[in-house]
């Protein structure tokens, strides 16, 4: 499925790592009551796809319901985090003390999230180029630049300021041209950059430099929360 390309899930490794992981990854614990009742881990991929579909659908609204959007994104993060093979983390002895564990998990999950989100962004740009009216997401259209047209007005979510407004006006391609690298230096990413980045098992992600993942994540979130009006003509509304 196009939306999850770039993310390889190795089920065998996932099961092996359940014991190795010391953090509270309750969704992987087969004895956990919630997991025992919940669908097996492999079903999460359909849940992930469903969530991504919902996210797309939400963004396609002329004015997305912010609550719906935030809840879907947060749920998507949870699902994504559960799908990241814990093999991406080093073995237990290297895992730092408890306070850092959550950060590491978050970092690795965010990195994997960014991997799938990167492919999401790519597909989003394909779809943006196609449609003149809200369409179901199911079909993958021909790749291409988003069609021009009048620069859309800023969406209701987009109060990022005039600078970002100009950025959006350049179209999606403009986002990739001008990558802001200031986020690498921020403390948020420091634990991740210290060697706990996802290993080569993450498939195509390894092709990209780690820094790009975070930058893409930033701009992806910009896109996700700010670009619902991008290249989109006024729709009929809700």
């Amino acid at each position: 499925m196009m939306l999850s390309k770039g993310l390889k899930r190795k089920r065998e490794e996932e099961e092996e790592e359940k014991e190795a992981l010391a953090v509270d990854a309750w969704w992987l614990d087969p004895s956990h009551p919630a997991v025992a009742q919940a669908p097996p881990a492999v079903a999460s991929s359909s849940l992930f796809d469903l969530s991504v579909l919902k996210l797309h659908h939400s963004l396609r609204q002329s004015e997305p319901d912010l609550r719906h959007l935030v809840l879907v994104v947060n749920t998507l993060r949870r699902i994504q985090a559960s799908m990241v093979p814990t093999a991406s983390l080093p073995p237990v002895p290297s895992v730092p003390a408890a306070p850092g564990m959550a950060d590491n998990l978050l970092a690795s999950s965010d990195a994997a999230l960014s991997a799938s989100m990167a492919s999401l962004l790519e597909d989003l740009s394909h779809i943006e180029g196609l449609s003149q009216a809200p369409q179901p997401l199911a079909d993958e259209g021909p790749p291409g630049r988003p069609t021009g047209g009048a620069p859309p007005g800023l969406g209701a979510l987009d109060l990022l300021g005039p600078a970002t407004g100009c950025l959006l006006d350049d179209g999606l391609e403009g986002l990739f041209e001008d990558i802001d690298t200031s986020m690498y230096d921020s403390e948020l990413w420091a634990p991740a950059s210290e060697g706990l980045k996802p290993g080569p098992e993450d498939g195509p992600v390894k092709e990209q430099a780690p820094e790009l993942d975070e930058a893409e994540l930033d701009y992806l979130m910009d896109v996700l929360v700010g670009t619902q009006a991008l290249e989109r003509p006024p729709g009929p509304g809700r």
């Binding site: 309750w26 919630a34 609550r67 809840l71 559960s82 209701a156 979130m221 929360v225 009006a229």
Partner: protein
């Protein structure tokens, strides 16, 4: 537009109307349950259809409403989406009941006055006034359509003969004045009876205009429009106990208004992050304390409630109290956050408690205890195993409201399949009732309903898989002092009354 008060033209006169009525109790009686005879049981007072035809008429026209065909309204299948009721609210005396709908209309019902001739009519509500509060708008700057759907209505306490209410859509709050006119001046010198100007040369005598009685007319006029203060969708409005200010809350901000001033408002809460990509939480509901004009609460999509004191600082980003219940590890799932999102928050009339509604439960919190609620009521726990399907069909995002009764002893909220639930806080009993035409027999007491969760289904039970998730009771209201409730089911407004033996 104007309508005759007490006009029953919009009433559903089908045979399903019920009697006999009972005189309301002075103080709310405890609930009856299916297992006990109890002192109270609920009967249907009336079922009101939001008048469909009214949406076709403009406000300025003075129409002869008698020409409207009643039978059009009786047929359920003609209900349009614009008629879906989106908010219900009693005024402070319970004499008036306002509904707002998706089409931007407000319909106000008035309680039938007690009369010796027709004792059985007491407790009925008739259409009092109907007006178009909000129109669909188009924001040209953002290329966005602004829905006219009325999200909330709040009454102001009555201070003179007129009634005032606030109604809001996603972006704009309006203050409406609803007043009666039963006299009109006649005998102008410069105008004739039709209002046309007279040629002054033809006037030979002067007379003093006199007020003559006329048929009672109810007029609604917009007195204030509070616009352009919300970037995001307004979800709540709340009138302050000082009666001079009110607040409006959207997904990320809360503004404080003075009723007299429409061109500015104070921003008192702002949770918008500097970078929108850091957004993880939105405001879902807000309300002022019923007595302390400096205190208010707001709830979030993460299941938290913050209580703020406006005396502490101008911007109440720092809460005074923070209410959150720790997550139950055994109930954790991917949907934990979604089902913890609070859809409604209401202070008790006493001001000592707050009640919150999330997807599966209603919780009562003591203002003095922040770490957990004092009471938790399961509304429809049988849905816990269906969360994935409910996520798929988006029902998990439904926003149910909750209400207190006048004495804060009973709380009520809606569910699916046109069910609504009441919980008696004292006796700990609860009851499930249904608001539907098919199941409301004349002269019968509402039958408690039961959902069968598994195993053998009894004759009167309904299984979880048979529930109709398109029939949801999101909006309910409870009379401020009596056991009269209003339940909105799509375009129907049901009014039930507690029958005392």
């Amino acid at each position: 537009m104007v309508l005759q008060p007490n006009e029953r033209r919009y009433r559903d006169w089908s045979h399903r109307r019920l009697g006999p009525w009972c005189s309301p109790t002075g103080s709310p009686a405890p609930l009856s349950c299916e297992t006990g005879c109890g002192e109270g049981s609920w009967i249907l007072v009336c079922r009101l259809l939001v008048p469909t035809q009214v949406s076709l008429l403009s406000m300025e026209e003075d129409i002869d409403t008698r020409k409207i065909n009643n039978s059009f309204l009786r047929d359920h299948s003609y209900a349009t989406e614009a008629d879906i009721i989106s908010t219900v609210e009693f005024n402070h005396t319970g004499e008036l009941l306002a509904t707002g709908d998706k089409g931007g209309r407000v319909v106000i019902f008035q309680r039938e006055q007690e009369s010796k001739n027709q004792v059985h009519r007491r407790g009925e509500y008739n259409v009092y006034s109907t007006f178009q509060s909000h129109e669909p708008e188009f924001d040209y700057l953002k290329s966005l359509e602004i829905e006219e759907k009325i999200n909330k209505i709040r009454w102001l306490p009555q201070q003179n003969a007129a009634y005032f209410l606030l109604s809001t859509n996603d972006k704009t709050v309006k203050l409406w004045k609803v007043s009666e006119r039963d006299k009109r001046p006649e005998g102008y010198n410069l105008k004739d009876e039709e209002g046309r100007l007279r040629d002054p040369a033809t006037i030979t005598t002067l007379r003093v205009p006199v007020l003559r009685p006329m048929d009672l007319m109810v007029e609604a006029t917009p007195r204030r429009v509070f616009a352009n203060a919300h970037t995001y969708h307004i979800n709540s409005i709340s009138v302050n106990s000082d009666y001079e200010t009110y607040m409006s809350a959207d997904d990320l901000r809360i503004n404080l208004w003075n009723f007299e001033i429409t061109n500015q408002s104070f921003n008192i809460v702002d949770i918008k992050p500097a970078n929108m990509e850091e957004l993880t939480e939105v405001i879902t509901a807000a309300e002022f304390h019923p007595h302390h004009c400096n205190t208010f609460v707001y709830s979030s999509s993460k299941g938290t409630i913050r209580l703020c004191d406006m005396r502490a600082s101008a911007l109440c980003d720092r809460h005074t109290k923070f209410f959150e219940e720790p997550e139950d590890p055994s109930n954790r799932s991917f949907f934990s956050e979604i089902i913890s999102s609070i859809s409604d928050v209401k202070f008790s009339h006493s001001g000592r408690y707050i009640m919150t509604r999330d997807y599966l439960t209603v919780k009562v919190w003591d203002l003095n205890m922040e770490n957990r609620p004092i009471e938790t009521y399961q509304v429809h726990d049988y849905l816990r195993s269906k969360l994935c399907s409910l996520y798929e069909n988006d029902c998990i995002f439904d926003k149910f409201e909750c209400v207190w009764n006048g004495s804060d002893s009973v709380i009520m909220t809606g569910s699916y399949n046109n069910f609504f639930r009441m919980f008696d806080r004292n006796t700990k009993r609860d009851v499930t009732l249904e608001a539907s035409r098919e199941n409301s027999k004349p002269r019968a007491i509402l039958k408690p309903r039961k959902v069968c969760v598994g195993g053998k289904r009894r004759k009167d039970e309904i299984s979880v898989d048979s529930l109709d998730f398109s029939k949801k009771i999101l909006h309910t209201a409870w009379h401020p002092s009596e056991n009269i409730i209003a339940v909105a089911a799509t375009n129907n407004l049901y009014i039930f009354q507690d029958k005392v033996n």
